[in-house]
Symmetry: C2
Subunit: 359 residues, 2 copies
DNA sequence: TGTTGGCAGTCCTGTGTGGCGAGTGCTAAC
DNA sequence: GTTAGCACTCGCCACACAGGACTGCCAACA
């Protein structure tokens, strides 16, 4: 994850200029081009032949490569890694951007469900990349426990079960009842069960359902149905399943120059990886454990379809209520800005959550 | 929507063969090819020169066209339309497929939320196309009315509001409370408000919130927050907004040969149209009003990005609980099979809903 | 020893050419 | 009205070729 050796100052200047230039233009960068820029910035000592010599050693180190022999150089994943860790100048969001984002969040200040959606939207817009955000959740305990649930009558024989876990997570499902029941009956049933089910686990619930099944007439079939559904909902949908992610910006990502001439299979792979969210479960545990903004560059990622994509991701939240937010873009991205935006959004959500849940 | 003139028998035979052959191969169909097939099927009278003469008139009628002068013919939208209305042999799902689908639905028979998801998945798989399904809803009344709502405590100052409309629709939102409240307090508040809010409309709720705001201390700020949120949820999210759609199969659609060499802009347009669901609101009213399976071919559709896509869509459901299901694929599709699958899924959902809600 | 100008060499890219094949439209014969 | 045959029109592809972008390396120089 860390580039081993430290380069000398001139090599670093060259690598920095190369990365910045390539990110700007998208083209391989020629020695002449670098020479001009560096000479202008730092004075003499950067003739193109000199730069070429240095480039050759940088290539030996695996930090850059040539797409073909008569082309300029392009950073490798390792080169970007070195850039991000040692050369990058950290940037900040402009005050205008900060104000705009603040305003958007102000408008939904009481609507917690909008926060996640808005965060993804802001990330996607600001970085023209795909964004992913998970809702804030309690650290998934070894054992999900029921806090409370309600039954709402939708139709004579159809009810909605909504349950709240002890960590505040919400799950729900519509079920078909065996018998027609009105809201009053359902409320009574819910109240009666709630009183017996404080801090119940899936095991408890299943055991209860079992015993009421065998004990026969005393418990109704619908009571058993409710217990079984609660148990299933309790075990299902952990924080890293696709359902609990919100994503945005696939279209923004596809609009980028990198995909203008991409073959359809590459595009399909990216869309599939984002839609099915096949890659985040793999990196989520590591991100949740770490502090600060994580940068995963290209092949450092295990997910094959995203080999040439980078992920900038961070944990946000307060004690007991945290989630994950990040962006996915081509390895050729403005890392400095991406990190700044991700960090700023982390801070924004942290502030909101601290207000809401205490610190 | 309907091809005006009726073609003579031989022209029809040629058009039918041409459409079937082109759907099978994806290539423009040559006169020689048609001649061979037709002669084999119907005997003499179909020499390639004869077929060429007929093709020239079909082209004048706008039913087919040549991609370039030395290529075979391809059906136009109008040609497909004629095929679908007069030439197509309606097909049925094989018993095996029917059984497979039945089995999948049997496994989620009590879980109503899974029906919509499963329907989209089955459609996408069976037809290798994108699928869209809306959940069953009551015919959107002029005036949404509240049936019942519940408050669930997620955290000291965070509550979940879940409301049920009279037609059985469910809406919900997390809100930030002004003061910390436990489940018992929230339940009491919900019970008290529910008793006063039977069949309330958004207007009623807003009026109540207003009056409690002016009357000052009697009503708490949180009571007002609940009333305002209920009012907003009541007006929001009509049946044709993107949120209420479930889609699947973008990846299946992109896997089709039509997209193998498509430029990235075309792909992006299709992904965007499906993700943002920009086209269905336009056709939904017409589909909801009509009976049976609707076929919208290519440019008959107003949505520009889907000019070369066809939509096969139908209304499903019983009185007071109906929705919309369909597939989106390239105009070059197996219309007969697509219509059969859509019709079968309509029937499947109808049966399930009839069991659930009565007929 | 490090730096630099210059030059030969490599390889990508774009363009133009010609042959091939597929399929048509048209004509003339049946 | 139907059919065989033929000239014609492209699209497609392979190939060659010129131009250009950069590099690597060498020799000279500080």
């Amino acid at each position: 994850m860390t580039a081993e050796r430290r380069l000398n100052q001139r090599k670093e200047a060259i690598l920095r200029a190369l990365v910045e230039e390539h990110v700007r233009t998208g083209e391989p960068v020629a020695s002449k081009q670098l020479s001009d820029q560096l000479a202008r910035a730092y004075g003499p000592g950067y003739a193109s032949a000199t730069v070429r010599n240095e480039l050759a050693t940088l290539e030996e180190d695996g930090l850059i490569y040539q797409p073909h022999i008569s082309a300029g150089r392009v950073p490798t994943d390792l080169g970007y890694r070195y850039f991000v860790e040692r050369l990058m100048v950290e940037s900040q969001l402009s005050l205008d951007e900060q104000r705009l984002i603040g305003h958007q969040f102000y408008q939904v200040q009481h609507r917690l469900d909008e926060w996640v959606r808005l965060t993804a939207s802001v990330l996607a817009q600001a970085l023209q990349s795909a964004a992913i955000v998970t809702p804030p959740r309690g650290a998934s305990a070894n054992q999900a426990r029921l806090k409370h649930f309600e039954l709402l009558s939708l139709y004579e024989t159809v009810a909605l079960i909504v349950l709240v876990l002890e960590d505040g997570a919400v799950r729900q499902e519509r079920v078909m009842l065996e018998e027609a029941r009105n809201q009053d009956e359902l409320s009574a049933l819910a109240q009666w069960l709630n009183s017996r089910l404080k801090r119940a686990t899936a095991q408890t619930l299943n055991a209860l359902a079992q015993s009421s099944a065998t004990s026969g007439a005393t418990a109704s079939a619908d009571e058993r149905l409710v217990l079984e559904t609660l148990a299933r909902l309790l075990t299902q949908a952990d924080i890293f399943t696709p359902e609990t992610f919100y994503h945005d910006g696939i279209v923004e990502l596809l609009r980028r120059a990198e995909f203008a001439h991409a073959d359809s299979e590459r595009i399909r792979n990216v869309v599939e990886a984002l839609e099915r969210n096949s890659f985040l479960p793999a990196i989520a545990p590591q991100v949740m454990a770490a502090e600060g903004v994580q940068v995963i560059i290209g092949g450092e990622n295990d997910a094959d379809p995203l080999k040439d994509m980078s992920v900038i991701v961070a944990r946000y939240g307060v004690e007991g209520q945290s989630g994950l937010l990040g962006v996915i873009g081509p390895t050729r991205m403005q890392y400095s800005r991406a990190i700044a935006v991700v960090r700023y959004m982390t801070q924004t959500l942290n502030d909101l959550l601290a207000d809401t849940y205490g610190s």
